[in-house]
């Protein structure tokens, strides 16, 4: 290949060479020989009425799906719209549908999901598509509010601290479900959300469950009424897809079953 100059140039050359099928050994740094593979990535473009557009992306050894989307937007098509923030698996903003399953793209290694060097990346299901990989999260958070997923306490700063023992049964229930960051993966994965437009969904119900078990909360009666019925916890058919897909390993299915029991008790007591 002749004289290739400095390391940076060689690396750039290696990335461009990635489209070739044979490995290229550079005399100064053989370790920069590129992986002779590309990913064929189909990405959703447009709104509800859109389609999948194909891109060829260099495949690297350590690569997340977010890296792939970012590469496309920076190098191949600047008009691609997508969301991300922390890119380290804390914020949940980068959630998308990867090969049909909702995931955090920053925490999804290409090696784990790209069978035959292909990827299909689409916006989260069950939410209105604004553009490309960006969905309107408003319905998701509206239902959170409808489920009365907000804490309502009675104490003021003048009162004593509430005492909540961490190993009490109720607090254990809360702790198992409290880490939800509202990423929308569970909501996007739930078929009942798709079949029943009014269904509040796993995240909203899971949050309601944490508050039902919060001994400091005073708004339980209206909350149980809000989560009951055909659009509430009773619509859950225990598909358990939400719990399967939750990146924080929360089981909304468990909380929803708990809500069914709590509502039944409230109904018997005439509190509903």
């Amino acid at each position: 290949m002749g004289d290739l100059g400095d390391l940076g140039q060689q690396y750039e050359l290696a990335s461009k060479m990635a489209i070739l099928k044979e490995p290229v050994d550079t005399p100064l740094a053989p370790r920069l020989a590129p992986l002779p593979r590309t990913l064929t990535v189909r990405v959703w473009r447009g709104a509800e009425n859109g389609g999948l557009q194909q891109f060829e992306v260099p495949r690297l050894e350590n690569q997340t799906v977010l890296d792939v989307v970012t590469y496309i937007q920076r190098n191949l098509d600047a008009t691609l719209s997508y969301r991300y923030a922390c890119r380290v698996g804390m914020c949940g903003s980068c959630a998308m549908s990867v090969n049909g399953k909702a995931r955090w793209t920053c925490r999804t290694h290409v090696a784990n999901v790209a069978t035959d060097d292909t990827l299909e990346i689409a916006p989260l299901n069950n939410l209105p598509v604004i553009k490309d990989l960006v969905t309107d999260m408003a319905p998701f958070f509206d239902k959170w509010a409808q489920a009365k997923g907000q804490f309502k306490g009675a104490r003021t700063r003048a009162d004593e601290f509430a005492r909540v023992l961490p190993d009490s049964p109720q607090r254990k229930e809360v702790d198992a479900a409290i880490e939800c960051i509202g990423c929308g993966v569970c909501y996007s994965s739930c078929d009942v959300v798709a079949w029943n437009p009014a269904y509040l969904g796993p995240a909203a119900l899971n949050r309601a469950w944490t508050l039902v078990n919060d001994v400091r909360d005073t708004a339980n009666a209206p909350r149980l009424a809000a989560v009951a019925g055909d659009a509430g916890c009773h619509a859950c058919h225990t598909h358990v897809t939400c719990s399967e897909r939750c990146p924080k390993h929360i089981a909304p299915t468990a909380g929803i079953a708990g809500l069914k029991r709590a509502v039944a008790v409230a109904a018997i007591k005439g509190e509903l």
Binding site: E48, N99, G100, K101, A102, A122, P123, N125, N126, V129, S188, S189, D191, A194, H237, T238, H239, V240, T241, E244, R245, A251, T253, A254, A257, G258, K260, R261
Partner: protein, 115 residues
């Protein structure tokens, strides 16, 4: 946009499909079942006439299917009752395997007896 089969490919979802399909098929079968038994109102020979019709191999095969559907729907239903009314435990995934096993056992026992 809605989910496709890639998101649904896990055991608890298959259990849901079996439960819903079996319930629907059984609900459709029931009126026929009630009519058949109602034949006894015309006396034993009328009921015997119907039972003779059920001797055909295809009908026998259907009956075995019905027994499996009934056992599966019941076992799946008991699993749901346990998931909803007993507090969440880790072994509940195995309930699915137990339910499936029991249904097949029931179907097999019926098949062995009726053939």
């Amino acid at each position: 946009m809605k989910n496709d089969s890639r998101a649904r490919n896990h055991p608890a979802y298959w259990a849901f499909i079996v439960h819903r399909a079996s319930g629907l098929l059984l609900a459709l079968f029931l009126p026929f079942h009630f009519w058949a038994l109602g034949q006894a109102l015309q006396g034993a020979p009328a009921l015997d006439g119907f039972l003779h019709w059920t001797q055909q191999p295809l009908v026998k095969f259907g009956e075995i299917g019905l027994v499996i559907l009934l056992a599966a729907h019941m076992a799946g239903g008991v699993r749901i009752l346990m998931l909803e009314f007993l507090a969440w435990r880790d072994w509940q995934k195995s309930l699915l395997a137990v339910a499936a096993g029991l249904s097949l056992a029931a179907g097999l026992a019926f098949a062995l007896n009726v053939v």
